[in-house]
Amino acid sequence: MKSLIEVKNLAKSYKDKQVIHGISFAIYEGEILCLLGPNGASKSTTINILCGALGYDAGEVTCNGVPIDQNLQGFKQQLGVVPQDLALYEDLTAEKNVQFFASLYGLKGQELEAGVAFALTSVGLNEHRKEKVATFSGGMKRRLNIACAIAHRPALLIMDEPTVGIDPQSRNHILNAIKKMQLKGMTVLYTTHYMEEVEEISSRIIIMDHGRIIAEGTKEALKEKNDERKITIEISDSSEISADAFYQIEGVKEVSLNEDELMITSIKGIENLDHIIAKLIRLRQKIQNIVVQEANLETIFLDLTGRSLRD
């Protein structure tokens, strides 16, 4: 795959505090790259540097091999940016908003009208084009926020948490729109807190924490690296059993007892559930419920950073 953007040893400080510590990564043409990280991971700072809106202290950012600083306006022409906060004029109609922002990319006349129609249709707002933004719901505003970034059909769409605080219906609309845009050849850089969104749309994932990249790969590859699964069993009386009894079972890494719950961390790929159940039956326990949780992005993230994504 050909890389559209390459970031090498990027570093950024605010006064004395370094917020990005020499990160390197690439964005490949046609992919949806998800940037994951909790608050304070420097995702937004990274994105603002990639948008050309923030300077940086060290490193290099290139687009098709050319440093972005050499032709910043030419680079920005290829970008569509969806900021985290709504960047709209509330007093204007949806159509006028998209028209204005698209015109800043040089669109005029029929080209502008076609761009506006494309953008509003893509996010499902064409029927509401003549309505004022002030009358829109939160979800509709979020969708319009995206429309304003795509009317000029950018090569790279940068989206900074575009689904924050919206209803599931609007979220689905947005995610479907992103998938359609990818099919049309658009490259997308997407940041979010929501794992389910990453699961649904990502071609590749970069996990950031404290201004560093701590993992990178496809979701399958990241899950593959995590070799654990968690087994939670509701039992009748945990006071009558000891955790040590379960360490003898092959693949068991960690056992903990909590009131009426037995939690076992086991190595993935070793089928030991029948042995665990047999042991509980021998210990005269009544099994009320069993939940087996394979590694997901949330648990991977927790393992890597020691904190949850929404922290």
Binding site: G52, Q73, G74, P83, D85, L86, L88, D91, F100, L104
Partner: protein
């Protein structure tokens, strides 16, 4: 050029469609002239009334408030986010402060001109008849200078709130020292000396000379001073402005 024109159009329309700002720009000079004109009516003569004095000085004082409008249109919270999207677009950085100045200048020129006409009709204030164009140019020159100052303050302090706090102090001090609120001679010789150096006081003096002495000698130097000051401040704002202030 197309993109610059689009931004100026948008910024101007943002100001022209804000009822609060329209109300303020029309009512502020009207109320000041009405109240101070009425309260000090007995202190002035029949030929040169208190309304004539405050009509001129408070229109100039209002022109100084162009700084507040430009600071608001530059960094006011509601507009800031939409401005951020302009920063992301492929335009030259200087378009942003330049556009805010032009938009504020257009807005204040329109509404202060309307306010001056209303003042003239209501209080029979003399704004000069033979030299009306030059006087109007000096008023809008003040608008331009203070539109630039508002943007410069935002570029320096990176916050509309801080910029406006400083601008309030600055405009009040300049208005007082320029004799806009009461004749500066009342404060003593030292203040009169300071006043002589202030461009705002020079504008007021030039306007009064043109109205009552038909003397236009000061017009060109004062107007040039306002233009040069505006250009310098605009240049400084463009140098100081960084798009990342919106981020």
């Amino acid at each position: 050029m197309y993109r610059l024109v689009r931004i100026i159009q948008r910024d101007t329309l943002n100001l022209l469609t804000n009822p609060m700002w329209i109300f303020f720009s029309l009512m502020f000079p009207l109320l000041l002239v009405a109240i101070l004109g009425f309260l000090t009516e007995g202190l002035y003569g029949d030929y040169f009334t208190s309304y004539d004095y405050y009509g001129v000085t408070f229109m100039l004082f209002s022109a100084m408030y162009a700084a507040t409008f430009s600071a608001n249109s530059f960094m006011e919270e509601k507009i800031k986010q939409a401005n951020l999207r302009i920063v992301y677009s492929p335009i030259r950085n200087w378009f942003i402060p330049f556009s805010k100045i032009v938009a504020t200048f257009i807005f204040t020129t329109i509404f202060y001109t309307i306010a001056a006409v209303i003042c003239h009709l209501l209080f029979h204030i003399r704004f000069g008849s033979e030299n009306l164009l030059q006087i109007w140019l000096l008023f809008i020159g003040m608008n331009l200078l203070f539109s630039c100052i508002g943007v410069l303050m935002c570029c320096i302090f990176k916050s509309e709130g801080v910029a406006n706090q400083i601008l309030s102090i600055l405009t009040a001090a300049l208005a007082m020292l320029s004799g806009f609120i009461f004749p500066i001679a009342n404060l003593g010789e030292s203040f009169v000396k300071i006043s002589r150096w202030l461009p705002t006081a020079k504008v007021a003096q030039a306007v009064f000379e043109m109205i009552y002495d038909q003397n236009t000698a000061s017009f060109f130097p004062v107007f040039s001073l306002l233009l040069i000051g505006s250009i310098l401040i605009l240049g400084l704002s463009i140098i100081l402005f960084r798009g990342e202030e919106y981020v």
